[in-house]
Amino acid sequence: MKIRTSVFTSFIMMAQVLGIALFLRGFFPVPVKSSVSAKNKLSDLPAEPLTGGPHNSSRLPDPLFKRVVIMLVDALREDFVFGPNGRGNMPYTSHLVERGSTHSFVAKARPPTVTMPRIKALTTGSIPGFIDVVMNLNSPALLEDNLLWQAQAAGKRMIFYGDDTWLRLFPKLFMERDGTTSFFVSDYTEVDNNVTRHLDSTLKRDDWDVLILHYLGLDHIGHVSGPRSPLVRPKLLEMDDVLKKIHGALVSKETEGAPPYLLVLCGDHGMSETGSHGGSSEPEVNTALVLVSPAFRRKVGMETPSVVEQVDLHPTLALALGLPISLNSVGRLIPAVVQEAPLRDRLRFLHLNGHQLSCLLGANWSVPSYREQTQIEVGVEQFRVAEKAHGGWMKLYLEGNTSEVLGNMGKKVLRQYLEALASMSSALSRQLGKYDMYSMVAGMVIVFQLLLVLLLAMPEALSGAALVDVPVLQALLSLPFYLLCLLLASVHVLVCTSAGSACYLCSLSWGLVFTAVAFASATFCVLVSMATRRLPGGGGGGGGGSGWSLSELDILLLAGTVGHTLSLAASSFVEEEHQTWYFLLNTLCLAVFQDVCRKYFREQRRPGAIGENREHHEEEEEEEERFFLSPKGRRPSDPSQPGGDPRSREKWLALATPPLTLACCRLLRTLNQTGVQWAHLPDMGHWLNSSEHRAVLSLLAALSLVLVYFLIQRRCSWVSRIALALGLVGVYSYRAAVGNVWFPWQHGSQSVSKGTVEARFVYVFVLGILFSGSKDLLRSQIAAAAAAAPLKRRGLWEIYSGLVLLVALLFRAHNLPVLCCCLLVQSLMARFIWRKLHYDAAQTTIMHYWFGQAFFYFQGNSNNIGTVDVSVGFVGLESYVEGPAIFLTALGTYAGPLLWACHLVCYLNSESLRTPVALGHGCYVLALLRSVPVAAYVVLVTALRYHLFIWSVFSPKLLYEAAHALLATVLCLFLGAMETAQADAARP
């Protein structure tokens, strides 16, 4: 069956996305839990161990605390409180830490250090899977067993003020609540005032037991201007005042005899040196945890806070409040907190915690490897021994023995318990990173088969005809296909019946599984038959495959692609991937520069046979250029260009293009410092965003927008031009309304709004331009062949400019130069380099792809989830609406690659007049460029799944790769549609 390259490629890409999705489903499993809805009950608690004698009561010790106030300050890094500046930042808190009856800890948060997973960790004690980050924007109610549910079941009355993520997680648990939305990052006063305003009245009342406050301001300051911002200190002082107020109120309410209060100050995650979070660097992971209660011993001096896990807070709070520990908690009791309780209670607490952990281990024991198995057994065994010793101790205790022996024995039991808890807890946290290998392997096999098919089709796909012969029917009717189907199906049955654990493929319906099996075997048969056809003749089927000679540029492009793929194996290269792309891009520009020099200088020196030939080409090209330009620009072809010989001027412009591109790239590189190692270095973006330099930022933004207009308008219809101009003005006024830039006439402090009106104003024009572009495209389908080409070109260009306008709206003000440089480089390169130097479609596509990758990082992205700018999802929206927010965020993140790919479509379309198969070739190369790294990365991630950095470095990158593959698929479909339309138009 012969099909066109673009159709073939689009199909392969779609199937590949499905394969990647399957892999992701296996790689990010829904965390293995005993059961989602099961809750621990008081009645299920084990009895206190006692050797001999009747069964003891299963009651819990009396709660240590009556009232709890949890003050959660978002992004409260450890050094904000305990660091050298702590005394200046939070004087009252540091006084309490040093002299008061407190315990202070450095609580280590597990990556991903994003708010919602952290809240889940604090309340359930479990370690949420990475997939929770993706669900962060759309957090459904938490159904798992959690502290708040337990507290409510025990009749505690709870009040919550702060981040409304809590309200979405726990919709009906609070007696009183007031949520603030966390997405307006530029607001850092109102969010906190909304919390604090309730405090006075609440603290006076007596009708609550648990008060939770979640302050967002500090995190917002971090996102906007980083941890060294001058705004941080006033905010911390404000937090300190709040703490003082709460503490004062609690102290005044304190009554003799009743259990005391507990005040918890904690952070959910830290803040990196750039102010973002999400990764696993030290400052992001280390958070402050201060517990204040009169029950603790008064301290005499500053002690270095000891390190605990963040999840340890959960069992500690649960036990101290007399609640059952949640089923899925992997934390262990912090012994220091219960230090003052009687030894019997302390042992009982540890026993309860150990019992819960051993139950969880039992539930999670499906197919661990041998080493893990032994570790689990060791932990459980230790626990059994300690439990037995505990029973013996209880017997002595109840007999009224009060000698020193009893105390020593109790301490020994305590130690045994602590050791058992430590080994069980570590075994558990390793268990939680379990993978669904079957789905992963299935996804990987599909991805790889498709990649091989793609690679095997290369000679045909890149041939002049751009037709690929895919022996589908042949494969479907062959015997091996049916045998393979049978084999795979039996393997499937075998795997599913033997494993029995959570496996996504096994939970699918039979129809779907059979489709997948049939698809995999069909692909394999196609693969084999293509390979056999390719093997014997070599050039026989492909045609023209043997005569390829590679220029330096080709070698560079190939080596760069392969080298980049290989570099993904090292975690540092993944973290600093932007460096790889900048480096390759620079080399590419230099190679292009060399090509340009070679062309223009050699021609002059040696007017030999080759030179004449070139001249001839040149003239042809000139004519073509005029032919292209005149309908585009809608102006008469200008024969007399002002100033000098046009040829020599063009030569100098062409020579200047690569150095100019290099300079642009170097400038853009300083704009946003990304990655991990050098991310903390000051960059232009921070400089521009600081309030003193707002005038510069305004000027720069305005200049960029004007340049964008001039670069984009020349090929649009006049209606679109007006719409574009108005839209760009709207963009500027939106930025002014949000408070990023100034209008020249309003220098003072103006009120900051959300800019909804302005943003919607821009949206109208974006839609208008997109509509007019697609109208032109549709009209070109029915128009006569001669008129169709310019119409189509204009339509494509208008769609492109609509996208540019949208991106201009979404980009932060300091990123507008990125957009401007992008357009500048595109138009210069298209005009003087790609067309003049006769780069073919494949080379141009690779260059576009490289530029797109580099611009992805230029705009401030990295391979870390933390750098995704979620505030983009709220441009022009009053509140969070899921669909548009996700779409806008994705668009804002992938703006660079998208714009370059769109430009590629426009360029290849104009090129396809000369070489009709350009679109198909471009589509094929784009698909290949995307699927090679994805396939390699999928294998790498599988091989490195027990790597130390798997969650912090490799998994975010996997998500980025998958999203990019999806984007490339959409683009391939678009390219395919363009080519099909063109081929249809050409046929009649």
Binding site: S572, Y582, R605, R666, R669
Partner: protein, 267 residues
Amino acid sequence: MSSGNAWFRNYCLRKSLNENSQCTSAYRKSGSFSNLTFVAFCYAYFIIMWDHEIKAMASSHAIIASSVFMATVLPAVFIQGFSVYGTHLLWLYSVTGAVSVVNIAVFWLLGISQPTKKNTLGYKLSRLVRSCMYLLLSCLFYHTVVVLYGAPLIESALETFSLAVLLTSLTTLRCLCVLGPNVQAWIRVFSRHGAMSVWDTSLQITVACSLIGAWLGAFPIPLDWDRPWQVWPVSCSLGSVVGYLTGLVVAPAWIHFHRKQLTYKSK
């Protein structure tokens, strides 16, 4: 022994059939050697450059390469605490100096560069001045390129410029020695199929090797291994020197093995 000799004779015959090289005459000339020493000589070198020019090239390259080694070893004897990583800039300057001096001396002695038409003092002076200017320009050019590649603009400007000087001494200086201050010749040599003598080819190879070495040297910088050679610009300068040495070895060998394909147009 005799088989080696026979092999060589065969080889020369084949050569002389293939092209009119001076190979046979070289053999005839070398007839004065005793056969035994001669064959030992061949085995010792492994790849043998019979041709006069290739021989000259190999020996000059050996001298240059040994000068690089001396520049690394000798200062360690005289200067306290000298090491390639620790006092990197010092090492860099010593290599630069040694390579430049030896290059100039060797090529002056060999007399490779195009014979000058005029022999007046003024003409020579102007050539010298132009050469110096080219060297300076090339330093600036390399500095710019390295900064464009992402080296810090202001912070470690000295290190960056030292790297530029090293690259200049490894590449531009050699161009000046071989081709003279003649931009058109440079463009000719560095365009495709532009080499007109073995020296041009060796120039192409060494320049390409040193640049590729420096280019590859930049790759380990982002790795978080915290090694002394990851400090800017150690890995790049090491890479370029290693590349240069490789080029020195590879150039004669490559020319030797591709003798049949290399057909130079007349000068």
